[in-house]
């Protein structure tokens, strides 16, 4: 036995495990242009498919004539719904229990809808072919307003109306109107209404959370390759959930699941956009089967913004009641949810409005009621969680705006109103009025730390002086202090209540230790920039005592990775991270038996210490994990089979509830509406911190996407259903010039049920950031009578607000 020459601290540092700002292993290939994204994939004989798309938002299709297109050199085939129908693939199931046309079947329901799929030798020939496909449309009345949709005689989805005119139930129960999808309720209606009716103070507000889009820099795409000799289909694509895609492809195509291999290569950002199944995937698979060649389909930016998975589009009306002292007594929320032409929301089956029922936020609200009505309109389908867990951004925006409106009603400071109503530390685990059990939190500590860090009292004094100066004509600039305190609900989720299309939302990790003491671990998730290859190795390093640098992490290939539901809704760390720790513990359990044998003591007489097992009370007697790995393969140990591998499928007992406190300080030029974000402080509590560098990067990025959504980004339609924001000229993505430097901070309140106490962080800054930016705008005008104005707060809308408040006199 060799001497223990290193001290314990060095051995811990050598692992680069939990809590270490380890540099990312992904970066070498990305900084050298050697990433492998789906559009980088080239296969022998590969051809290219692209869509003929509808210029109309609502139209009947009288005929499609592809004959001229087929004459174009290089064009090989044109698929329409008629070609897909014999295969049963002209419609496909959506993630929300609805069905969606793959290619227009008799009519179109939104601008940009897929009408025909042109397959050609290259992209230019496909584009030439698209030009020449003749489609004869008969325009129909267009409905882009969900409230109008619920009154209109125009039926958008004839397929959902019985021949006798009755309305069969939808996937989520009875429907009230032909254009109505579902009503979903949570909480207690009558008691809530009674509390509000008898309250000392009630604040009411209606707000529109506008439609926007995740818009990752890489659009969606795939390469489908049907090997007819072996009967195997390989599908590469921008899939945030490759295993779920494999199962769905199998179910709808009839190809047995073992004959389908789905691979997510490097993904250029997802943010929810790459969760769903899109017509391009189905058409590429069919085209590959028809032609016998690999088929690539890659969206262009307009396709992406106009047709794949939008986010939000929630019309929310709230009532919040309180005592005169500001103690909240009840909350009532109604949402009219615009889902577009098909209900393709990506939510767990039992939650058609996602986790909107987290809308009581971080506050101890005794009584609450929520109802959501989903509605069809002539807009693109989607409704994904854009950098948030299912509809949590909407929920947090709603409550954080309602708090501000209540503060106005009470003539009370909004920070104090929050303080009075926070769920107290000793109340955790806390069951909210709308059903969720919050795992852990210490909101008051986080709030006081944040307010102190920004010198809240000082900011208010400065603001008061600014208002006085403004009124005295000394300045034309106002100052807003945007407060936000959010509680996320992530890590979907317990299989008992979370599934998508019947697939339970567990996740997985499989570890194989190599004889020389390095390892490979594979997971059911897939990174899109979060740095899984770096952080999951850190979790493992701390669990199994091998250096993170000696552990390869692999994801995204369904032939090799264990089954899992993928990466979205901040679920990777809460679910797959937990599976990783649990699989690591299985490795350690076997290693303990091997160590005990090698050290000639009983199993219980050795204990784990950083990177080794030591004999209790005799630390000089030990076996390192490296030594144990070699023995596991190469030494005959009675009663123990060779090898050192483990797999864990982790079904989380609960969701995790990260939280945070944000403060945005903004100056607004009243005459131009131009905003200057002077300061942004973000305190996040994501439980145990795995890699502080990566957490900070996630916070910067999430806040910047929040800035985009709050301050300018939208998918806007005109009355004809034309998308007005289909390119990056019109759709706001902030540049380095508009984005401030952020100050990040943290508290640590571990999750009590997660094996390492981690909660997830990727989406918190977006969820908490949007209300912080928006509240800053509102706060600037509070002294001049503003209660609420809808986002996005672009310069023009802010100028209009100032104008309407009479500040331009």
């Amino acid at each position: 036995m060799k001497d223990d020459v290193e001290n314990r601290e060095d051995r811990v540092a050598n692992l680069k495990g939990l809590g270490c700002s380890r540099k990312r292993v992904e970066d070498a290939r990305f900084t050298q242009g050697k990433g492998n994204y789906v559009d980088d994939i080239k296969l022998d004989g590969m051809i290219f498919g692209d869509f003929v798309r509808s210029p109309y938002a609502h139209a009947r299709i009288k005929s499609i004539d592809a004959s001229a297109a087929l004459e174009v050199p290089g064009v090989l085939a044109v698929l329409t719904a008629k070609d897909l129908e014999p295969l049963g693939l002209h419609w496909m199931p959506t993630l929300a229990g609805d069905k969606q046309m793959v290619l227009a079947d008799g009519k179109v329901l939104f601008q940009g809808q897929e009408v025909a799929f042109v397959v050609a030798e290259d992209r230019y020939a496909a584009a030439d072919g698209i030009e020449l496909v003749e489609v004869d449309y008969e325009e129909l009345p267009v409905i882009v307003d969900p409230f109008e949709a619920l009154k209109s005689d125009v039926v958008l989805r004839e397929d959902l109306v019985a021949e006798d005119g009755s309305l069969p139930d939808g996937a989520h129960g009875p429907r009230k109107h032909a254009n109505h999808i579902f009503t979903w309720e949570a909480g207690d209606k009558d008691p809530t209404e009674e509390v509000i009716a008898n309250a000392e103070v009630v604040a009411e507000e209606s707000m529109y959370y506008h439609r926007t889009h995740p818009c990752p820099l890489e659009t969606c795409g795939c390469v489908a390759s049907m090997d007819k000799v072996n009967g195997k289909l390989t599908l590469w694509g921008t899939f945030q959930a490759p295993h779920a895609i494999r199962t769905v492809v199998s179910l709808i195509s009839g190809i047995e699941e073992h004959n389908i291999r789905v691979i997510s290569p490097d993904i250029g950002g997802g943010f929810g956009n790459k969760v769903g199944a899109y017509p391009g995937y189905v058409c590429s698979v069919v085209a590959s089967i028809v032609t016998g060649k690999p088929v690539k389909w890659i969206e262009d930016r307009m396709d992406n913004l106009m047709t794949t998975a939008f986010a939000r589009d929630y019309w929310m009306t709230g009532k919040i009641s309180a005592t005169k002292e500001g103690k909240i007594t009840g909350l009532h929320c109604h949402v009219t949810a615009d889902h577009g032409g098909f209900d393709a929301c990506a939510d767990p089956t039992k939650f058609p409005a996602g986790f909107m029922n987290i809308c009581t936020g971080s506050y101890d609200i005794p009584t609450a009621y929520l109802a959501v009505d989903g509605v069809y309109t002539n807009k693109a389908p989607g409704g994904v969680s854009y950098r948030c867990s299912f509809r949590v951004t909407e929920a947090v925006y709603f409550i954080e705006r309602m708090i501000e409106v209540l503060a106005i009603e009470l003539n009370m400071d909004a920070a104090e109103l929050r303080r009075v109503n926070f769920i107290r530390k000793e109340q955790f685990p806390y069951t909210a009025a709308l059903g969720w059990e919050y795992d852990s939190g210490d909101y008051h500590t986080a709030w006081e730390k944040a307010l102190k860090a920004v010198d809240y009292e000082g900011l208010r004094a400065e603001q008061a002086q600014r208002i006085a100066d403004f009124k005295a004509g000394k300045t034309r600039s106002l100052m807003g202090i945007g407060l936000s305190f959010f509680t996320e609900i992530v890590g979907a989720g317990p299989v008992k209540n979370c599934d998508i299309l019947g697939l339970g939302m567990f996740d997985s990790c499989e570890i194989r230790i190599h004889p020389t003491g390095s390892a490979i671990a594979r997971l059911g998730t897939i990174s899109q920039g979060q740095g899984h290859a770096t952080t999951f190795a850190q979790i493992l390093a701390s669990e199994i005592g091998l250096p993170a640098d000696s552990i390869t992490i692999e994801e995204g290939d369904t032939d090799t990775a264990p089954y899992g539901l993928g990466t979205y809704g901040s679920r990777s760390t809460p679910v797959a991270g937990a599976a990783t720790a649990m699989a690591g513990r299985k490795i350690r359990a076997k290693a303990q038996m091997i160590a005990a044998y090698l050290l000639e003591v009983h199993d219980n007489d050795v204990e784990f210490d950083v990177d080794r097992f030591v004999v209790k009370g005799a630390p000089e007697r030990f076996k390192t994990m490296k030594e144990i790995a070699f023995a596991a393969y190469n030494q005959a140990i009675p009663g123990i089979e060779p090898g050192l591998e483990a797999v864990s499928y982790y079904d989380p007992p609960n969701m995790t509830y990260p939280f945070g406190a944000y403060v945005c300080v903004m100056d607004i030029d009243v005459d131009t509406g131009v905003t200057d974000i002077r300061r942004f402080y973000a305190l996040d509590d994501c439980g145990t911190r795995i890699n502080p560098m990566i957490i900070e990067g996630q916070v910067h990025g999430g806040l910047t996407e929040a800035l985009a959504v709050a301050m300018g980004q939208e998918i806007a339609y005109d009355d004809m259903g034309n998308v007005k924001t289909g390119t990056l000229m019109d759709f706001f993505l902030p540049t380095a010039w508009e984005v401030p430097n952020y100050e990040t901070d943290y508290t640590v309140t571990p999750s009590p049920h997660h094996p390492i106490g981690a909660k997830g962080v990727g989406e918190s800054p977006h969820v908490g950031g949007v209300p912080a930016f928006s509240n800053a705008v509102h706060d600037a005008f509070r002294a001049f009578g503003l209660r609420h104005t809808n986002m996005p707060h672009d310069h023009w809308r802010i100028w209009r607000t100032a104008h309407e408040l009479g500040l331009h006199a």
Partner: protein, 177 residues
Amino acid sequence: MSKKMHIKLTVNGKPEEFLAEPRELLIYTLRERLNITGPHIGCETSHCGACTVTLNGKSVKACTMFVAQADGADVTTIEGIGGPDTLHPLQTAFKEHHGLQCGYCTPGMITRAMKLLEENPDPTEEEIRFGMAGNLCRCTGYQNIVKSIKAAASEMNAAGSSGREAAGSKKEVEAAE
């Protein structure tokens, strides 16, 4: 389809010669014809900069330039900036300061940053933010990109001035002899 044109280019120091349709875009030439997949396509309208290359000494968005317009040009992509054994200080700095996440914007970002530092070897934060505003990133919020570029600039300036000092001292030695 129209008549093909005879195009000559130098890409990352290597001469290329081929026939292309007049409508062929430079990004298509690089990615599909020459298999240089570092530059990416993000918007096809010149807004995002994922396709940024250096063309005759200027930053150019390859998604909106015809290859015919680039006939005779000298083009550098991320692949020509540095490889495993010849990393550019920017490539090192982006890793060191977490200047990337999904990596999709990174080749264009580094290619543009290299040009920016040639134009302005010691930029302020404001100059970096302005000079990089044609390259969009959806992941990082730019804060660490700015940090990376600043760090690379310091690194390059330190190396440059020590290089100059070395040259100067060599001259002095020669003069003394």
